[in-house]
């Protein structure tokens, strides 16, 4: 595809080229090649699309992607115009990933930074072991959401499945709808000023016209074994 304004658009058709071709091309871009737009056609549920990027890039994936889409992302802004399978944006470091459909299990798993937005629902283990990422799910999430979440924020505009926030550390969870059950050591928490503010900012930044007062905050009660100072020497 030729120029659109000043931004050069590159198109990769995954019916004609392999995922490896695509990822290699993205990895080999020069460091100073900023703000280049890429369009990925016919993703066809293929795995590992746009993984391991470390450039300021805009990428649009035009269709449904398979597992680990946008995994390990750093700096790139990636839009998936479709659904994604297991592990979208797993271990993301920075940048953003927008999914315009539903996400499979373990969305944003272990991610350390950046923003993951899912327009539809996310399945089980969304944000498992999250370590600093912001995750905004406009629909609902499955069971074991934010399991062992260590840092970062998760916003769920729909409902959460069983065992939300099991064994949480410091991640903060905001849910508007119902929660099927809370996991071990996860409790409802008061919405103090700072929480109202950060939730408002997250909602606003993502164009969500939600009423902050309808959300409940969940976090760690810090009662599990490893939180007890008496056990500190056991490690």
């Amino acid at each position: 595809m030729n120029g659109q304004g000043n931004i050069e658009m590159n198109t990769v058709d995954l019916q004609k080229q392999s995922v490896r071709d695509l990822n290699r091309a993205l990895h080999q871009l020069p460091e100073d090649n900023i703000q280049v737009g890429w369009e990925v056609l016919n993703p066809g549920g293929k795995h590992n699309i746009a993984c391991g990027l470390d450039r300021e890039l805009n990428i649009r994936i035009d269709g449904h992607a398979g597992y680990y889409c946008a995994g390990m992302n750093k700096r790139a802004d990636i839009i998936v115009a479709g659904n994604v399978g297991v592990g979208v944006a797993e271990n993301m470091m920075s940048g953003s990933v927008f999914v315009q459909g539903n996400a499979g299990q373990s969305a944003g798993a272990t991610a350390r930074g950046g923003l993951l937005v899912i327009d539809g629902d996310a399945a089980a283990r969304c944000g498992i072991s999250m370590k600093g990422v912001d995750i905004v799910v406009k629909g609902s999430i499955g069971h074991m959401g934010a399991f062992m979440g260590q840092a970062g924020r998760m916003v769920v505009c729909g409902n959460a499945g069983e065992a939300l926030g099991d064994s949480l550390y410091e991640a903060r969870i905001y849910v508007k709808g119902s929660v099927a059950s809370l996991g071990a050591d996860c409790v409802k928490k008061e919405m103090r000023g700072q929480h109202v503010q950060e939730l408002q900012e997250l909602l606003y930044a993502n164009g969500l016209n939600e009423n902050v007062s309808e959300f409940t905050r969940y976090g760690s009660q810090r009662n599990l074994y490893h939180f007890q100072v008496d056990n500190a020497l056991a490690y």
Binding site: G44, G45, K46, H47, G63, H64, G66, Y67, G82, N83, G85, V86, G101, N102, G104, Q105, D121, A123, A124, G142, H143, G161
Partner: protein, 301 residues
């Protein structure tokens, strides 16, 4: 590993293309299961009072014509035979019980893959592409179909250990995952007079469902009981005369994705199996929730 796929047509005008739509779905799951493949296709039902049998035999030179003649003579009704590569299909006016008893008593090496009004099962060791080619899957017609590509874990790579497993009249099971309490459950089921032919864990799950169904449970009840009695991880797809049902273990260890349009309902272990279906771009696509029985059919399963 293993891959499972299913396609149920809501739009009857697609029935002539069922095999053509389904074959690429099965083949796409080759990475997940290169050891063997199989499918259960439903359609072309026999009349009331008749049964349709899918059969295989370990001896390639086994004469299906002789078997059909023998059955015709024994039952006193014409046994209509059609052969398809290593499989044979016999249609005859009798009951499931009578014909099963007759064959098991007299032809112990015969493998009864399925018995029903509409079901036909084909399965073989080898790559899914080979299995699809061998049985001419792309030309097959029907209302719905489920299939499996196997990466063997709990038992040997044999045709007998391949999926689908028959669980009774027009019923069959495919499984992605592995069960950990299948030995104990098999012993218990054997005491309830359920017979097993392999060491396979999925055959135990099939036998377990058969036992519940024989006791009068609905398929939904049988599957809900499975949530308590089966230990392990699994996604099951169960083919029924009317459609198919899907169940994932309560922890949802094994992946599954579903898609629905006005024309069909499809399920697969991975989305890429569904990527070639017509209208998939605008399908409703979601991951089935764990521990919930999903079913589709012309009437409730």
């Amino acid at each position: 590993m293993c891959g499972i796929v299913g396609l149920y047509l809501k739009n009857p005008s697609l029935e002539n293309r069922l095999g053509a739509l389904f074959s690429p779905m099965l083949i796409e799951m080759t990475d997940r299961g290169p050891d063997s493949a199989g499918f259960a296709i439903y359609g072309n039902e026999v009349a009331d009072g008749y049964v349709k049998l899918s059969l295989q035999h370990s001896d390639d030179s086994f004469s299906w014509t002789d078997l059909a003649a023998w059955l015709t003579n024994k039952i006193g009704e014409e046994a209509d035979l059609s052969e398809n590569a290593t499989a044979a299909v016999i249609r005859v006016k009798t009951t499931e019980f009578a014909v099963r008893h007759l064959l098991e008593e007299n032809y112990s090496d015969l493998r009864i893959m399925s018995i029903g009004r509409g079901i036909e099962i084909r399965k073989e060791i080898g790559l899914p592409q080979m299995v699809s080619d061998r049985f001419g899957l792309p030309d097959m017609k029907g209302t719905h179909i489920i299939g499996h590509t196997r990466m063997a874990t709990e038992s040997a790579v044999t045709t007998e250990g391949s999926h689908p497993f028959s669980t009774g009249m027009d019923l069959c099971l495919v499984h992605n995952g592995s069960l950990s309490n299948h030995n104990r459950l098999r012993s218990w089921l054997e005491r309830q007079n359920i017979k097993f032919k392999t060491d396979n864990d999925t055959e135990v799950a099939a036998g377990y469902l058969s036992w519940h169904l024989q006791k009068g449970a609905t398929l939904r009840k049988a599957l809900e009981s499975a949530l308590y009695d089966l230990d392990g991880f699994y996604t099951f797809a169960v083919g029924t005369r009317e459609g198919f049902a899907v169940l994932r273990d309560p922890i949802a260890c094994k992946q599954a994705v579903m898609a629905e349009t006005d024309d069909y309902v499809a399920m697969a272990t991975e989305f890429r199996s569904l990527a070639g279906l017509p209208g998939i771009e605008n399908a409703r696509i979601w991951e089935p929730e764990p521990g919930l029985v999903y079913s589709w059919g012309r009437k409730a399963a």
